[in-house]
């Protein structure tokens, strides 16, 4: 829909000749060639506009003014030798909609409808108007309703595609509640959404609104319109409650899902496991893993990465390492994420040097460390007061152009200042600013606070 078909593109050039003040004919038109060149000799376009002509070529409508648009359309319609088809009318509306208000677009539509006898609008025509109306920033849905009414009056029944377009356009412009209301209304009057639309809306609702509202919506859809949540809907809901650390609710949803006759898949298990891992509940995470095995769901890379991350996080590094071996046995080569999680665990345990040697091991296996790996290690080294190694690693990061994360940066600066290496701290500050790792204000305030601390310590005689 976004692209202007060739039949319409040629119209651009006809129009260019008619309005000599606006634009010269830039690219050669396709099928209107002879006609255009005939007129060119009469009116030569002004040279001053030549430079700026290429940019707005795609949209033949230069102003959102309705009467201009109407006369432009009339002139095309009267001069065109080939019959104008639906595709052409759609692209006219599309182009005009991109610059004009909803009212004007609707008016242009009615104008086309009246002036062109053979034009019978299809759903696609109304969908253009609808998506435009949904994106217009008016708070009540008056414009949307207007287009829907227009649609019904012209004998086109809104279908699932209509619902989908309306919901997506509304969500795109951040009007989630409106989208929900409209879905309910459309379900009541015309057709309920399909699963894709439903899940799309559900995801956006979960992101922005309260859980009670989401549940209410799910309930209404289920009871009134027989739209049942599917496995994906449940996964979205479980993910949301897991992110808000409400594991009990997640478990309730899992049992609901079982009752509805769905079998959790690998993705869903991963979601639940992630929930436990962010809460540092290692045993439960392992429990999920075992359950997967029992149910015959094969764990994938994400499962192992999550598990290693979770176990490292709650300090069970040995087990994490064991699962890394299991991961290799199941045919997944550990990636940077797995290694970084394990390093993080080791750093927390105080085995910083072990973590550093893991970096070597990882590189030897051909797995490139990412920014997070470096930052984790740098953080660990600074915390463990292994300054020399830390500076060495920082040098490596610098030469590789790796960005600093704020915590690693802050720890490095603090440790440097504490050991009296103020010039080095300034140098790290320069790098952080230069590589745009942090905002200037962030980087500076960290430096300032560290320096302030040193000054005070010096005054009190704590540091020489």
């Amino acid at each position: 829909m976004g692209k202007i078909p060739s039949s319409f593109r040629s119209m651009t050039s006809t129009q260019l000749v008619k309005k000599p003040t606006t634009f010269p004919p830039a690219p050669p038109p396709r099928d209107f060639r002879n006609r255009v060149s005939g007129r060119e000799s009469v009116k030569t376009p002004q040279n001053t506009d030549q430079g700026s002509s290429r940019e707005p070529l795609r949209n033949p409508f230069k102003t959102p003014d309705l009467s201009d648009a109407k006369s432009l359309f009339n002139s095309i319609a009267s001069t065109s030798k080939i019959p104008l088809d639906l595709k052409f009318h759609n692209s006219v509306l599309q182009s005009y909609a991109s610059i004009a208000a909803v009212d004007d677009t609707v008016n242009l539509f009615t104008h086309i409808l009246k002036s062109q006898r053979n034009f019978s609008p299809e759903p696609s025509t109304f969908h253009i108007l609808l998506s435009h109306a949904c994106k217009a920033p008016d708070s009540p849905l008056s414009n949307v309703h207007r287009v829907l009414n227009l649609m019904v009056n012209n004998g086109v029944e809104p279908n699932q595609v209509t619902t989908d377009i309306a919901v997506r356009s509304l969500c795109e412009s951040g009007r989630i509640i409106d989208a929900m209301d409209l879905t309910k209304e459309l379900s009541e009057k015309h057709s309920p959404p399909d699963t894709y639309t439903y899940n799309f809306l559900l995801k956006h609702l979960c992101k922005c609104e309260s859980l009670s509202l989401v549940y209410e919506f799910v309930d209404v859809m289920k009871k009134s319109f027989k739209v049942e949540p599917d496995l994906i809907s449940y996964t979205i809901l479980i993910d949301t409650v897991c992110n808000s650390k409400n594991l009990r609710e997640a478990m309730r949803l899992v049992s609901l899902l079982g009752n509805a006759g769905f079998k959790p898949d690998c993705f869903l298990y991963n979601t639940i496991m992630k929930g436990y891992c962010t809460l540092s509940k290692g045993s439960e995470a392992i429990g999920v893993y075992k359950k997967m095995k029992e149910e015959g769901v094969e764990p994938d890379r994400v499962t192992y990465n999550t598990l290693i991350f979770g176990l490292s996080k709650c300090g069970r590094v040995e087990e994490a390492r064991k699962y890394m071996e299991t991961m290799v046995e199941s045919g997944y080569e550990p990636d940077a994420v797995a290694y970084t999680s394990l390093m993080n665990g080791m750093c927390r345990k105080g085995e910083t040097l072990g973590a550093l040697s893991l970096l070597g091991e990882m590189e030897a296996k051909g797995c490139a460390p990412n920014a997070c790996t470096y930052n984790t290690l740098l953080y660990g080294l600074c915390k463990a007061r292994l300054m020399d190694k830390g500076i060495e690693l920082y040098g490596l990061m610098r030469s590789n152009g790796v960005k600093l994360e704020s915590s690693a940066y802050a720890t490095l600066v603090r440790t440097l200042v504490r050991s009296g290496k103020v010039a080095e701290a300034y140098e790290v500050f320069d790098y952080a600013v230069e590589s745009k790792s942090l905002t200037d204000a962030c980087a500076y305030s960290t430096l300032e606070i560290s320096l302030k601390w040193l000054k005070k310590a010096k005054e009190q005689g704590l540091v020489v």
Partner: protein, 100 residues
């Protein structure tokens, strides 16, 4: 993974952030040095620090100390040698807290 609270420390406090990045009308001494009439405290620090770097004013024997040239001396309380540790606080002197 890494502690999150550090990230928020300063930029979350609008007062402190404003104190750092708001433009301030400068006193004449600074105006002369920077060649402009308004700058933020952060901007001023960056300018002074880059001035030190471009003119190689750090003491080659002890990089933590700056040997001020005449121009720099004028804005840093007339000191001959300035410790890098003091630099932010010396600059801060030019940006007194605004009385309410």
């Amino acid at each position: 993974m890494l502690p999150q609270r550090l990230k928020k420390a300063i930029t979350d406090n609008p007062k402190k952030l404003g104190n750092l990045i708001d433009l301030v009308n400068l006193p004449s001494t600074l105006r002369e040095f920077l060649g402009q009439s308004q700058i933020s405290r952060l901007g001023c620090f960056m300018r002074v620090w880059s001035y030190i770097k471009t003119n190689n004013l750090q003491d080659p024997k002890n990089m933590n100390v700056v040997n001020c040239d005449d121009k720099l001396k004028r804005i840093l309380l007339g000191k001959q040698r300035v410790d890098l540790v003091e630099l932010p606080s010396l600059i801060k002197l030019h940006f007194p807290k605004e009385p309410k």
